[in-house]
């Protein structure tokens, strides 16, 4: 058994080393390459860069606050209302924005909130002539909230749904009022999940590119990510790109340290959920408020998605579906996204299993070091621009092999890395709390490895595993950063296909492809989450 334990720890360290190496090697290669270039000494810290840094932090900070607050409200309403028609569908739709390329979402949002969008049309019909202009910080925030409030809701909901039945029984016995329930039962659980969700949203907004430039209205809205892209893609100045990427990394590292580590393991979860003995869900006002919140959120989520559908109504679907290149792209997208999602889950699982074993072992110091390292790397990977990773690996592989031949592998690797922070945040709290309840049992039964996974972990963790898989897959499917670097006519995914059509005046075909991508992603999310759905329905859980 000791050997097994060591194996888990070993696998954990191996996964962590692999991740750090994959990122570090790219940096190193790019840095070394930059050293061989004769370039004028770049002025890094000028007034322009400070403006960019300030704006990056401002928009990311505001976007995070504006995404997290409604997410708390919505997650709470959703956890209070476990049964209503369309709940499952709504939860799955929440994963959808992430799966769509930013450009598709931007055009959807513009259709709703833009100059000639639906909202302004309604305002005009109501007699308000001026209408409003979203271009600027407003547009950036609307788009970021659309992307991230949905994500944060799912993350926070997974915390709220794990409040054990004992707490609700106690709350009933004590006759607790809704406010006390929020303060004493829900808030502690939310607080455990907030740092993870908020830091994820913050990092995603830091790395935002298409949204910021397209909706930002002008170069006043420039993020560090834009400057990195400009340095590497347009000015071909690898030295500056490396320095800027390091600046972005260290800024975020600082903020992550300041923000503390994400969720602890204070929730002693039993597998029995007790939602329907909550004492605070039966009042009429509570019901009305919850459904108003859910209704408005669903509307705000559905409008831009509906716009994507509406924009595609006149698209030549028969032509698109008849093209072999479309089906090839579908195949490629499925394979890339599945492999990336699986490898992401395997890596995450290795790290978490290693962490779990270390925690139950003797050396707390090693456990803490490992936790901090794996959490930090699973966060910072998010602000490593794909263009830096991609170019770095291109330089590394070029002397050894034809980069085009290994392009699918590179795209999978980058997508895997990009999905890690999501999988980590979904699985880490679940694994930790499951471990708290089962570690001793497993130890006394001598259960480990595959047996333990199949009999103990899988039944408890299938829901978070399914959610993590769906998110990882969605992220990979919608990716345009990595595929844009390595795609070719023999290796094209759906988003790339769509982007190419858009670049050649074929806007109607692009709109059609956007809709097909949306439908296709929704199918995958349904599949992934459906497979991992716990067999017990919450209603049966209470004896």
């Amino acid at each position: 058994m000791r050997a097994r334990m060591a194996a888990a720890v070993w696998a954990g360290w191996a996964a962590l080393t692999g991740i750090v190496t994959a990122a570090g090697a790219a940096f190193l290669a790019l840095g070394l390459f930059a050293a061989t270039q004769v370039a004028e000494q770049p002025v890094l810290f000028d007034a322009y860069l400070w403006r960019v840094v300030r704006f990056t932090l401002l928009q990311a900070g505001l976007s995070t606050i504006l995404s997290i607050l409604p997410a708390i409200v919505l997650a709470r309403a959703l956890t209070r209302r476990q049964r209503f028609p369309g709940r499952t569908a709504l939860l799955r739709l929440l994963a959808l924005p992430l799966a769509l390329p930013a450009l598709v979402v931007v055009l959807g949002i513009v259709q709703v909130w833009g100059q000639s969008g639906w909202a302004n049309a309604v305002l005009k019909a109501a007699g308000f002539e001026t209408g409003f202009n979203i271009y600027g910080l407003t547009g950036i925030l609307i788009a970021h909230v659309f992307f991230n409030a949905s994500l944060a809701t799912r993350l926070l909901l997974s915390h709220l749904d794990r409040i054990p039945a004992e707490n609700w029984r106690l709350a009933s016995q004590l006759g607790m009022q809704p406010w006390s329930i929020f303060r004493l039962i829900e808030w502690p659980v939310l607080r455990a999940g907030l740092p993870g969700a908020a830091s994820l949203v913050f990092l995603l907004c830091i790395a935002s590119f298409t949204v910021v430039l397209t909706l930002g209205g002008g170069p006043k809205a420039t993020t560090i990510e834009v400057a990195i892209y400009q340095a590497l893609r347009f000015d071909f100045d690898p030295a500056r790109a490396v320095l800027l990427a390091l600046l972005q990394l260290s800024l975020c590292a600082g903020l992550i340290v300041l923000g503390g580590r994400f969720s602890g393991s204070m929730i002693a979860t039993k597998s029995v959920y007790g939602w329907n003995i909550r004492p605070d869900v039966s009042s009429l006002w509570g019901r009305l408020a919850d459904f108003a919140i859910i209704g408005v959120s669903a509307l705000l989520l559905l409008l831009p998605l509906t716009a994507v559908v509406a924009g595609a109504l006149s698209a030549p679907f028969a032509k698109l579906l008849g093209e072999p290149v479309f089906w090839r792209a579908v195949m490629t997208s499925v394979i890339i996204a599945s492999v990336a999602a699986i490898s992401c889950l395997v890596l995450t699982w290795c790290m978490l299993a290693g962490l779990r074993t270390l925690r139950s072992g003797q050396s707390r110091r090693v456990a803490t070091v490992f936790t901090n390292l794996s959490m930090a790397s699973a966060s910072l990977i998010l602000v490593l621009p794909p263009v830096v990773l991609g170019t770095g690996w291109f330089i590394l592989l070029r002397p050894v092999t034809d980069v085009f031949a290994v392009a699918p592998g590179l795209v999978i690797m980058i997508n895997t890395l990009m999905a890690l922070p999501f999988a980590m945040r979904i699985l880490q709290p679940a694994v930790t709390s499951a471990s708290d309840s089962h570690e001793r049992l497993c130890a006394s039964l001598g259960m480990s490895g595959w047996h333990r996974f199949r009999l103990i972990d899988w039944p408890v963790l299938r829901a978070p595993l399914g959610l993590a898989f769906a998110f990882a897959m969605a992220l990979s499917i919608g990716d345009l950063g990595a595929i844009a670097l390595f795609g070719s006519e023999d290796f094209t995914t759906l988003p790339l296909l769509m982007f190419q059509r858009m670049g050649s005046y074929r806007m109607d075909e692009a709109a059609g492809l956007a809709l097909l991508l949306l439908v296709f992603c929704l199918g995958l999310i349904y599949g992934a989450e459906g497979l991992a759905r716990p067999r017990q329905v919450p209603g049966e859980a209470v004896q």
């Binding site: 450009l103 271009y135 170069p219 834009v226 699986i342 070719s488 006519e489 023999d490 005046y505 692009a510």
Partner: protein, 332 residues
């Protein structure tokens, strides 16, 4: 899962073969050139029939990415030809020392300017233009001055010169008309600009969605809508100061093992076998003779009264300072 892995292995093994056969010419170009609807497939057929060799397209994002790829690969590049750079990139591309002379007389070349470059062969061109929606703009601007001082409720979408080739083109256009007063002109134009997008696709997408009345594009853009969509909804505005020109070029790689074949291809570039595929596949003007006259829609396009163009050297030297000047005004 096994099936997925298996598919992946198949996918990997189907990736382009790395071996370079003795008679294969590898051409790096941009993706839309080799797309099914692009000029690539037709040109491949025409050239292969002539040379008895294999033409292999390698599609890379865009012109700037082609140059970057060349710099990254250095002397070991697999490219025999790079096709898809524009005049603004010529100095930088030449400075890599990786390209060589084309060795052609280029007597068939027809461009709005005279062409004497020994390294680069031009294959198509178009002038930048403000394209507008006729249902929204009844009195299109007749000059840059008009555009700048016009009704700021009628919005314009442009591209970012830091990340986009047309974006840089418009910056150079403004600079060539306003010179030292360009900053002032930008300040006056600013209220009219709805947003500045990272690339052409985003800008054109917003424009056709109806968000803005005008977009920066090419004089040839309306031809696409007339020919492919049978719609005359969009038109380009003719500006009295003249229009800035974009010329797309190709060049041979010095270290190519197929140098003779590469030069043969560069001579072919200005011939009808190549040029026939340009107008309605790349939506640009051919830089050489075509078998048939251009479609009628092309004859109706705006013909710039004057062509504006900085030399590649001037652009390479001043681009950074000009972009900084633009940033300064636009970030206020």
């Amino acid at each position: 899962m096994y099936r997925l892995l298996l598919s992946l292995v198949i996918c990997l093994s189907l990736a382009p073969a790395t071996a370079r056969a003795a008679d294969t010419l590898t051409v790096y170009t941009y993706e839309s050139f080799v797309a099914e609807w692009g000029p690539g497939p037709g040109i491949k057929k025409a050239f292969e029939a002539e040379c008895g060799c294999t033409l292999k397209w390698v599609g890379i994002q865009d012109g700037v990415a082609i140059l970057n790829r060349l710099k990254l690969e250095g002397k070991q590049t697999r490219a025999d030809i790079v096709l898809g750079l524009d005049t603004n990139l010529m100095t930088e591309a030449e400075a890599t020392g990786l390209l060589t002379e084309h060795g052609s007389a280029l007597d068939g070349v027809k461009l709005p300017i005279s062409w004497t470059d020994k390294t680069f062969v031009p294959y198509d061109y178009a002038h930048f233009a403000i394209v507008y929606d006729r249902s929204k703009v009844t009195k299109p601007p007749a000059s840059l001055d008009d555009l700048i001082s016009g009704d700021s409720a009628q919005k314009l979408v442009i591209q970012d010169p830091r990340t986009s080739t047309p974006g840089l083109g418009f910056l150079l256009w403004m600079k060539s008309v306003y010179g030292d007063k360009a900053a002032d002109a930008w300040a006056r134009l600013k209220p009219r600009i709805l947003t500045v997008t990272p690339g052409w696709s985003e800008a054109y997408g917003l424009f056709t969605k109806g968000e803005a009345a005008m977009v920066l594009s090419y004089t040839t853009s309306p031809a696409y809508h007339v020919i492919a969509e049978n719609s005359d909804k969009y038109a380009a505005a003719a500006f009295s100061e003249g229009h800035y020109l974009q010329i797309e070029v190709a060049a041979a790689v010095a270290g190519s093992a197929q140098l003779e074949l590469a030069r043969k291809f560069l001579a072919f570039v200005t011939k009808p076998g190549f040029q026939d595929h340009i107008p309605t596949n790349n939506w640009m003007f051919p830089a050489g003779p075509t078998t048939k006259p251009l479609p009628e829609a092309f004859a109706k396009l705006v013909k710039p009264s004057k062509t504006l163009l900085f030399s590649p050297g001037e652009v390479a030297e001043s681009r950074k300072a000009w972009i900084d000047e633009w940033l300064e005004v636009m970030s206020k």
